[in-house]
Each structure stands twice: as structure tokens, then as C-alpha cells.
């Protein structure tokens, strides 16, 4: 489903920092992998390239047969809107929207009819354990609950690929374990592929396999 071939990225500057070099990766539908690596090695750059938010200097990225390196910004945005979901370390829940409105955001962007959107939003909130909290505002929630809302928002439009960047970085161990379990369960239930970027060995251990990002590219981890 997702194929990365010989991906390279160098940032311009006085000393031209090479972040990614010769990265290859293949990901099948329903597969859940964890990407680990030291800080600054380029994990977030890798996610940006896969999401079409940045362009590689060399190599190819293909999602469901669509070459992301050959499409413009608007096309990449549409692809992201329809086929990808995101979970961030800092949640990024819009504070001025209710939980239901936050979760429904991707459906709104994908022009899903209001009735259908409401039904799916309600079901998704129930799936992450927040049934009946549709009208609550984000400031009323704990960190763990906010990350559940983020997972619901990431999956409500049934994406093919979920990108999670340190989703448990701001959570206590108990909440982290619950969120990771929920993430895995939802990904598997919906047969979506998932790339989890993390520093945490415990978090990575919940994935089907672990890959390590190094200066020389990706290699299989433990």
C-alpha cells in the first residue's frame, strides 16, 4: 500500500544538513509499524514526506499506487484529507470546538453529509470511550482523554494510513498504555496501516514490527 524507495532529503543552509538518505520501506494494509531513532535523525521529516507536506530530494513515495512526489500541493492535500489520519504528541484539538465538532472535522472536509457525519462521529467517540461527551469542550478533558479525541479524529474518515508522531509523549504511563492499546485496536479494526514514531520502547513494542531510522537509512529493529 505504501512504498518508499531510496528516499533522500537534505536541508538547505550554510552546511546543507542531510537528514534522510536511502530510505526504503514497504507497508501493507493493516500493518502497524513503529519507527525509532535518535533525536534529529529525521523521523518527523520522514512523516512529512509521507504526508506530502514536504518533498524529497530524491526517491519515490507511492500510496495506493499514487506517486506523491509527482503531485502538487493541492492534490497532496486532497490525498491527505481522504486517505490519511494524524495523531500528534501535543494533541492539537481545536479549543473552540466541542469534542464532536473536533472529531467531525475530517468528515466536514470530505463533504460527508451531516446526518452520516453525526452518526460516524458518535460511533467513533463511543469507540474511544467518550460516549455522551459530544458537547464537552476540550478544556474539560485530561491529556489522555484529549489524545483519545485525537485518535477518533484521525480515524473517523476511515483513512488508509495513520501517522502517529509520539502520541504518548505527553501522557502518564497508564494513560499512554491505554492510548496505545486503543490506537492498535482501532487501526486493526479498520484495516488501516499505521506508522508510529516514538522514542519509547514500550510504545514501540505494541507495533507489529519496529524499524530504526539511522543516517544510512531504515533497518529492522528488535
Amino acid at each position: 500500500m505504501l512504498v518508499l524507495q531510496n528516499l533522500s532529503k537534505t536541508y538547505a543552509g550554510a552546511r546543507g544538513r542531510s537528514v534522510l538518505h536511502g530510505v526504503d520501506l514497504t507497508l501493507a494494509a493493516g500493518e502497524y509499524i513503529a519507527v525509532m531513532g535518535e533525536s534529529g535523525i529525521g523521523k518527523s521529516t520522514l512523516l512529512n514526506l509521507i504526508a506530502g507536506l514536504d518533498r524529497p530530494d530524491a526517491g519515490n513515495i507511492s500510496l495506493d499506487g499514487i506517486d506523491l512526489t509527482g503531485i502538487d500541493d493541492d492534490a497532496a492535500t486532497l490525498l491527505r484529507r481522504e486517505r490519511m489520519g494524524f495523531v500528534f504528541q501535543a494533541f492539537h484539538i481545536l479549543p473552540y470546538l466541542s469534542l464532536a465538532q473536533n472529531v467531525a472535522l475530517p468528515l466536514e472536509l470530505n463533504r460527508v453529509a451531516d446526518g452520516e457525519a453525526a452518526r460516524r462521529t458518535q460511533a467513533m467517540l463511543a469507540a474511544v470511550g467518550l460516549a455522551g461527551r459530544e458537547a464537552s469542550m476540550p478544556r474539560e478533558l485530561s491529556g489522555g482523554e484529549l489524545q483519545r479525541v485525537a485518535i477518533a479524529r484521525a480515524l473517523v474518515h476511515r483513512p488508509r494510513l495513520l501517522l502517529a508522531d509520539e502520541p504518548t509523549g505527553n501522557l502518564d504511563p497508564d494513560s499512554a498504555a491505554q492510548v496505545l492499546a486503543l490506537l492498535r485496536e482501532q487501526v486493526k479494526t479498520r484495516n488501516a496501516a499505521c506508522i508510529l514514531v516514538t522514542h519509547s520502547r514500550a510504545a514501540a513494542a505494541t507495533a507489529d514490527r519496529i524499524v530504526i531510522l539511522t543516517a544510512q537509512g531504515l533497518r529492522e529493529g528488535g
Binding site: 518527523s44 501535543a90 492539537h92 479549543p95 473552540y96 472535522l105 478544556r139 508522531d165 509520539e166 505527553n170
Partner: protein, 845 residues
């Protein structure tokens, strides 16, 4: 052991300074806008203050040099009074010296400005007003010669004359040539000419008449008692005053104009304060977590508030310092190009020098700091009030300024504002009117969060994700919307108010001119000076001209009715057999006196305000040294004079005073007669008619409206500055709000919103917020416009006017501002999306 302690102390002091300065330095652009806004307000206010102070100072010097060492002055109507009074007063035991003076503003042929001419008794004046004695070393008898005139150095410079040259004065329609015998020994910087009093009476056609008697009391005499003693001996219409009263009277002449200009300048400063309010409030929202961290680390609530107020004070101090410098240069430039009267004509003839007054400088510096600190107050209190644990959480920005939502403070301020429209003026100044405007402004701004919640809550759910998000953002953070709009609502409402007031005034003035100029041709003996007049023979010649169907003549005199108050204009006019009630622009009721009542008098609105004249009341006017009774038959609108005027029938005036001269004439032409032909006939048939000024109603109207527009050009300029500051505020607020939301935009880009969609979302937000602000500004401006018309103008200038709202112009202005606001929002969005918003969502990079 001492060195480390010193180091510790200095590093502590440094960290506090850094804590204060670092946030300011972080956003230099917004800091610069705030500082500039304060600087602009201070500069304008300080410049107006400097110009006013210079003009009044010059005037005070002029009064001092003219009055010399006099303890008391006896003044009367501009036309003068019987000189026989002088010997009677001079003989009083307590009077050391009495010096009679004849004063006139002599019209100079070919010039618009007149020359102030004084006729003095050199022997008496030497003891009281030595500055008014000419330097007659060449020929002492010149002090007494009937053709000799001594000029002040300023007058000689202005007229480009030197001793031995000749100067022509217009008296009636004739010219009188005088020889410049020399220069005055003193005379300050004012333009004046002095001659022997007997010669002046002869030359100016005022035999037996004087205008003033300056009195020096005997050493040790009780001047106050002497003043009372003298007043008892004076005929009606004459007042005995201290010389300072003249200064006060002349200061009063222009006081309302000067205060209004000051207030207009302060509006710019006021708007600057709102901009500081916006900037500081948004800064507090942006730094909410940082400030909460400081609280966690041990800074008290008071400490946070003091820190933010100190930031405001720093902004104010910087702005005020720049403003004082700029204000000085603006004042210097204005004085150099327009003179001290700013075009109002009150201080014509004076040559002022500019001096920076330390008290005014300190006052405006303090005002600048105060306004900026006041602007920072809400933000400081909000930051101090925030609970640190809650404020550290993401998304808590939404609760910032939530306490602004209760409606009662705003409603209370609006009610107080409405109540302040009721009291009368304080010392002739509409202080409560200004206070009402300020309260209404602040009250509306305090109500804005509640209004925003209500209005945005009532809007239907829009189509499209961008629009829905925009509306949700506005509904979720109404306090922030209100904060960002403060400056633009303030400036736009004031601009709307001024536009309504000026339009109402202009339309009313136009209608008034239409009514008071019914004739086909007008002629006058001269704008400048009071020595030009039409004699009865001139009148008869004009009235008898073929083609003149009817000629109405007007005599204008000045009466002093109360100490310290400016002179009142007495207009003695004929109505050509018409009903005066139909010819005059009367306001309110009118009545015709019964046969057993005194004859009618029509008083201007200023007479009603300043002297309490009411329709039906019997009033007394001093005419020719006697009090004459009149019945107030109506109140009329007089846009030409703000200090009061009365109209009586000319035949009655002539009967009571013996004065049969006239200043102006209105000619109604017979069918078929041409204006040009009549003008030619007058010039050919009336001696000296070349010195008459002619005007058709159309020309006079056009000229009057041109003068009106020029006068209000200063107002427009100051208002434009205020709106400019408001737009700066809007732009700066949008920019700050949008930049603070870069993470939100990053997330939205991730979940699939295009740049265009985010841009549209921001444009919709900008449009909705600005539309609300402009709608509120329009409504508030209309109310403030009413206050300006019904309270401020009425109390300042004693003019009423009909309300005319230039809706077309206002709609155009609002549309332009809305477009600018949307463009600003788009530009802010472009800037915010230009930075790597994708990175903004990542904590780990």
C-alpha cells in the same frame, strides 16, 4: 566578600529588566505600532497645545503693552461713547491719571487685514501707556499733528513702510492719507498705528467720541473700591474692568474652538490607548502559559500585574518622548505656514515665537504614559487573575477575557454616558458632553464580547468547513474578537460621528445661507475694519438707481453686555416691508409684541444660551448711553457669530442712536435688471464705490462653504489619523492572533485543509469580526454624532443644526474598511502560513 554580593544584586536587577524588556523586544513590529500610536496622539495634542499657548501668550503681551500701567479700563460699545465722560472721571480724587483712547480697526484699501489704530492724548498716555508714544525726536510736534501716524515696528514691517512714507485708510467710502511720522517706542509685536486722539476723531469721523479710558489709581488707593465707584458713574453699556479682563474676553473668543481642537487631538491619543489595549491584551493571551509559569515559579499576582503595567508605561514613555519631539516640529511647521489661529482668524496680526513649555511637555508626557498604562490595565488584571495551573494547559487561551462577558458594566457605562448629556456646560466648555462620548465609547467596547457572543450565536450554520470553523472560532473566543476590534471601533465610531456632525452642519449652513441671502446682490463696505460705512447719501443714491426694486441696509455695532464676555453684535436692519418672522431663520416659537409692549428684538441662539433670552421676555440694551427696552420676538439661528447677536429694526435704531450709517446692503433687482449693470451703475454713481465689495448670493454661498470646508480640513486630518491608528490596531491584532494560531493551521494542513481554505477561513473571520465592529462603530458613531450636534456643538458654539447622516459616504467608508480588514486578515494568514506551520505541530524536531 563584597564582590559576589554585588554581582548577585546586579544579575538579579538584570533578570528583572530582561523579564520586562524581552517580551517587548520579541515583537518589535507590534511594539513599534503601539509606540507610534501613542507618539502620534501625543504629538498632535502637544502641537495644538503649543500653538494655543503661543497665540495666547502673544495676545497677553499685546494686551499688557496696550494697557501699559493702567489699573482699570473703561470700555463700551465698539462705536464709542461720549468723550465728556473723560473729564468727569479724571477729576475723581482716587484717579491719578486718566488717559482717553479712540480705537478702530481701520480698513486699508486693497488689503483684507485691517490696521488697529489708536488715538491717544500724548501727555496723558505718557503716564499710563508709554509704549504707545511715538519716537518723535525729529519733530516732537508730530505727536500732535493731524496727519501724523506712528507705526509699531511689526506694522511697519508688514506694510513695508518707513518714516516719511504715506499710508491710506478707508473711512466711509473715502480714503484718508496719513504720513508715517515714525515708529512707536514700544508696541510689542502687534500691528498697530498711533496718532493724536483729536486727529483720530477728525480723520475717522468720530468727533466727540472715545472708545476707552485707561485709569491709573493714586498710590495706595483701593483699586477694587475705585472700580465700584467708577461703575456707578458710568452710563449703561460701559464697563470698568481690570486690563486682564480684556485678555480673558479675547481668550474666551476662541476658547471653544481651541478646546475642540485639543479634544480632537486627544481622540488620536485615546485611539492610541485602545491600540495599546489590543496589543497588550493579545500579548497576554499569547504569553498566557509563560505568565502562568512565572506564577508557578513564585511571582505574585501583583508582580505579574505590575510587570505588565510597567510594559505599558515603557510603551507610553517611548511614545510620549517621540511625540513631544514630533509635536514641537508640527507646531513650528503649522505656525510657519498657517499662523497661530490655525485658520480660525482669531489671532490675525500676531507674529508668535514658539517655546517648549516645560509644564505642557510634562503634562503630555504624563498623558502618553497614563493612556498606555490605562490601555494595559485590563490585560494586566486578566493575567493576574488567571489560575496558573489552568493557564498552563493548552487551549486555556479561550478563557482569557471571559470576565469581559457580563453585560452590566458596559450597560452601566452607557447609562452614565446618556446621563452626562443632560448637564449644561462647565465654564463654557461642554465637559459633560465629552465625558458622555468617552463613557459611551468605553461602555460599547465593554459590551462587545457579549454582543459578539449574541450576534455570532444567531448566525445560521454556514456551508463549507472553512466558514464553519471561522464562525466556531468567533463564537468560542468572543473576548479576543472584542479586544482586537477595540481600536477600530473607537476610531470608526468617532469618524462616523464627525462625518455626521460635519454633514449636518454643512447641510444646515447651506439651508441657512439660502434663507438669509434672498436678495440678488449684496454689497459691503469691507470685511476688515470698522471704519468703512455707507452714508445716508450713499444709501439714497444706491436705492434710487434704476433697476433696484428694493434696497435693504444693515448697520452692525458691537455691544458689551457683561464683564468678561465677548461683545455682542447688534444688527440694525430693514426688512423692506416684509414680516421679519418670515425673513429670519427662526427656531421655535415667535411672537409679535402687543402695542403696549416694547418693540421687537430677534435674538440669536447664543443670546438664549449665554444671556438667558427667551421669547416674550423684555430685555434691555445699552444704546447711545441709555438702556432701551425690547421684547424678544423670536430666536434665530446665526451661524456667522457664536458669541451672540440681536436684530432690531433699523429705523428704530437710527431714532434711538442718531446713527444713520450702514455697513452692508442687500439689493433686490427689478425684473430684467442685470447684476452686472447694477454693479457698474453703483461704481459710476457712488463716490468711493470702487472700495465696496460686491457678491451675488451664489458667490457668497460658495465662499462660505469653501471657508467651512477649509476650517474642517483640520478635523478631517485628525480623524484620518485616528482611523489610521485604528487600522494599525486591527492589522496588528489580526497579525498577533493569526500568528498565535500557527499550530492550529499546522494541524488543519495535516488533516487536509488547503492553504486556500485556511486563507478563506481567515478572510471570513476577518470579515465577520470587522463587519460586527463596523456595524457597532456605525451605530455608536450615530449616537455620538447626536451628542456632538445636540450637546457639544450647542454648548461650545451655541449653534443648533438639523441631523443629516451621509449614509452613502459612510457605507462607502465602511465597505473600504471592511475590504482593508479582510485584506489584512488574508495578509496575516499568508504570513502565518508562510512560516513552516507543518513544523509548528511537532514537539520533537
Amino acid at each position: 566578600m563584597h564582590a559576589p554580593a554585588a554581582l548577585t544584586f546586579s544579575s538579579h536587577a538584570l533578570s528583572r529588566a530582561a523579564l520586562l524588556l524581552a517580551p517587548l523586544a520579541q515583537h518589535k513590529g507590534r511594539l513599534a505600532v503601539s509606540v507610534l500610536a501613542i507618539a502620534l496622539g501625543v504629538a498632535l495634542g502637544y502641537a495644538v497645545q503649543l500653538i494655543n499657548a503661543v497665540a495666547l501668550n502673544e495676545f497677553s503681551q499685546a494686551v499688557r503693552s496696550l494697557a501699559g500701567e493702567a489699573d482699570l479700563e473703561i470700555r463700551g460699545p465698539r462705536a464709542g461713547f461720549d468723550e465728556m465722560l473723560y473729564p468727569r472721571l479724571a477729576r475723581l480724587a482716587q484717579v491719578a491719571v486718566a488717559s482717553p483712547v479712540l480705537e478702530a480697526d481701520a480698513k486699508l484699501p486693497g488689503r483684507r487685514d485691517s490696521l488697529h489704530v489708536l488715538g491717544v492724548d500724548a501727555f496723558r498716555a505718557a503716564a499710563v501707556q508709554p509704549a504707545l508714544i511715538g519716537d518723535a525726536r525729529a519733530d516732537t510736534l508730530d505727536l500732535l499733528r493731524p496727519d501724523a501716524l506712528f507705526l509699531s515696528p511689526a506694522a511697519a514691517d508688514w506694510l513695508e513702510l518707513k518714516p516719511g512714507d504715506h499710508l491710506a485708510l478707508q473711512v466711509g467710502l473715502a480714503e484718508v492719507r496719513l504720513r508715517v511720522a515714525g515708529l512707536l517706542r514700544g508696541g510689542g509685536r502687534e500691528r498697530l498705528g498711533v496718532m493724536d486722539i483729536a486727529a483720530a476723531q477728525q480723520v475717522l469721523g468720530r468727533i466727540g467720541s472715545i472708545s476707552r479710558i485707561d485709569i491709573r489709581a493714586r498710590p495706595g488707593a483701593d483699586v477694587a473700591a475705585l472700580q465700584l465707584q467708577l461703575q456707578e458713574r458710568l452710563p449703561p453699556g460701559l464697563l470698568v474692568e481690570r486690563p486682564q479682563s480684556d485678555l480673558q474676553r479675547n481668550a474666551n473668543l476662541s476658547r471653544a474652538y481651541r478646546v475642540n481642537l485639543n479634544v480632537l487631538a486627544l481622540v488620536a491619543l485615546f485611539t492610541g490607548g485602545f491600540l495599546v489595549f489590543s496589543a497588550q491584551a493579545l500579548s497576554v493571551v499569547r504569553r498566557r502559559a509563560q505568565l502562568a509559569l512565572l506564577r508557578v515559579l513564585g511571582v505574585t499576582r501583583g508582580g505579574i500585574a505590575r510587570m505588565l503595567l510597567a510594559e505599558g508605561a515603557l510603551i507610553g514613555a517611548a511614545g510620549a518622548a517621540i511625540g513631544l519631539g514630533a509635536g514641537y516640529f508640527i507646531a513650528a511647521a503649522v505656525l510657519a505656514h498657517f499662523g497661530a489661529d490655525l485658520g480660525a482668524g482669531e489671532f490675525r496680526g500676531l507674529h508668535p515665537d514658539l517655546h517648549a513649555d516645560p509644564w505642557a511637555s510634562a503634562l503630555f508626557f504624563a498623558l502618553g504614559v497614563l493612556v498606555a498604562v490605562a490601555g494595559s490595565l485590563a490585560a494586566a488584571l486578566e493575567a493576574a487573575r488567571a489560575a496558573p495551573a489552568q493557564a498552563l494547559k493548552a487551549g486555556d487561551e479561550q478563557t482569557a477575557f471571559a470576565h469581559l462577558r457580563p453585560a452590566w458594566p458596559g450597560a452601566l457605562l452607557l447609562l452614565l454616558g446618556a446621563a452626562c448629556t443632560l448637564p449644561g456646560p462647565v465654564g463654557g466648555i461642554p465637559l459633560f458632553g465629552y465625558l458622555a462620548i468617552a463613557l459611551m465609547l468605553v461602555g460599547t467596547l465593554a459590551l462587545m464580547p457579549r454582543l459578539a457572543t449574541t450576534v455570532f450565536g444567531l448566525l445560521p450554520r454556514p456551508r463549507g468547513a472553512g466558514a464553519r470553523l471561522a464562525l466556531a472560532q468567533l463564537q468560542g473566543a468572543p473576548g479576543q474578537a472584542a479586544v482586537s476590534l477595540a481600536a477600530i471601533v473607537a476610531s470608526f465610531s468617532l469618524m462616523v460621528a464627525m462625518a455626521i456632525m460635519v454633514a449636518s452642519f454643512r447641510v444646515s449652513l447651506d439651508a441657512w445661507l439660502e434663507q438669509v441671502l434672498p436678495a440678488d446682490l449684496y454689497l459691503r463696505t469691507g470685511m476688515g475694519g470698522d471704519t468703512g460705512f455707507l452714508s445716508p447719501a450713499d444709501e439714497a443714491r444706491i436705492a434710487a438707481l434704476p433697476g433696484v426694486r428694493r434696497a435693504e441696509f444693515l448697520r452692525v455695532q458691537q455691544l458689551l453686555l457683561a464683564p468678561g464676555k465677548p461683545a455682542v453684535a447688534l444688527l440694525a436692519r430693514s426688512f423692506g416691508g416684509d414680516d421679519p418672522g418670515m425673513r429670519l431663520p427662526l427656531v421655535g416659537e415667535s411672537r409679535t409684541p402687543r402695542a403696549d409692549e416694547p418693540p421687537p428684538l430677534w435674538a440669536s441662539e447664543a443670546m438664549a444660551d449665554l444671556y438667558g433670552y427667551r421669547v416674550g421676555a423684555v430685555v434691555q440694551l445699552p444704546l447711545a448711553g441709555k438702556l432701551q427696552r425690547f421684547t424678544v420676538a423670536g430666536i434665530w439661528r446665526d451661524y456667522a457669530r457664536q458669541h451672540g447677536s440681536v436684530i432690531i429694526r433699523r429705523d428704530l435704531y437710527a431714532e434711538l442712536t442718531g446713527d444713520r450709517d450702514a455697513n452692508d446692503a442687500a439689493l433686490f433687482l427689478a425684473p430684467g435688471a442685470s447684476v452686472d449693470a447694477i454693479m457698474r451703475a453703483i461704481r459710476a454713481g457712488v463716490p468711493g464705490a470702487a472700495r465696496l465689495e460686491f457678491g451675488s448670493p451664489g458667490e457668497i454661498r460658495a465662499r462660505s462653504l469653501r471657508v467651512f470646508d477649509r476650517t474642517f480640513a483640520v478635523t478631517y486630518a485628525l480623524e484620518a489619523v485616528a482611523v489610521l491608528i485604528g487600522l494599525f490596531g486591527l492589522s496588528s491584532s489580526f497579525g498577533a492572533l493569526v500568528l498565535a494560531r500557527s499550530r492550529e493551521f499546522g494541524m488543519l494542513r495535516h488533516v487536509g485543509m488547503t492553504r486556500r481554505q485556511i486563507g478563506a477561513m481567515l478572510a471570513i473571520e476577518g470579515a465577520l469580526v470587522s463587519a460586527l465592529g463596523l456595524a457597532l462603530g456605525l451605530a455608536l458613531g450615530w449616537v455620538i454624532g447626536l451628542v456632538l450636534i445636540r450637546v457639544v456643538n450647542r454648548q461650545s458654539f451655541h449653534w443648533s443644526m438639523e441631523l443629516h447622516s451621509p449614509w452613502g459616504l459612510l457605507a462607502l467608508l465602511a465597505a473600504a474598511l471592511l475590504a482593508l480588514a479582510v485584506l489584512t486578515a488574508l495578509a496575516s494568514g499568508r504570513r502565518a502560513l508562510g512560516v513552516d506551520v507543518v513544523r509548528a505541530v511537532r514537539e520533537d524536531w
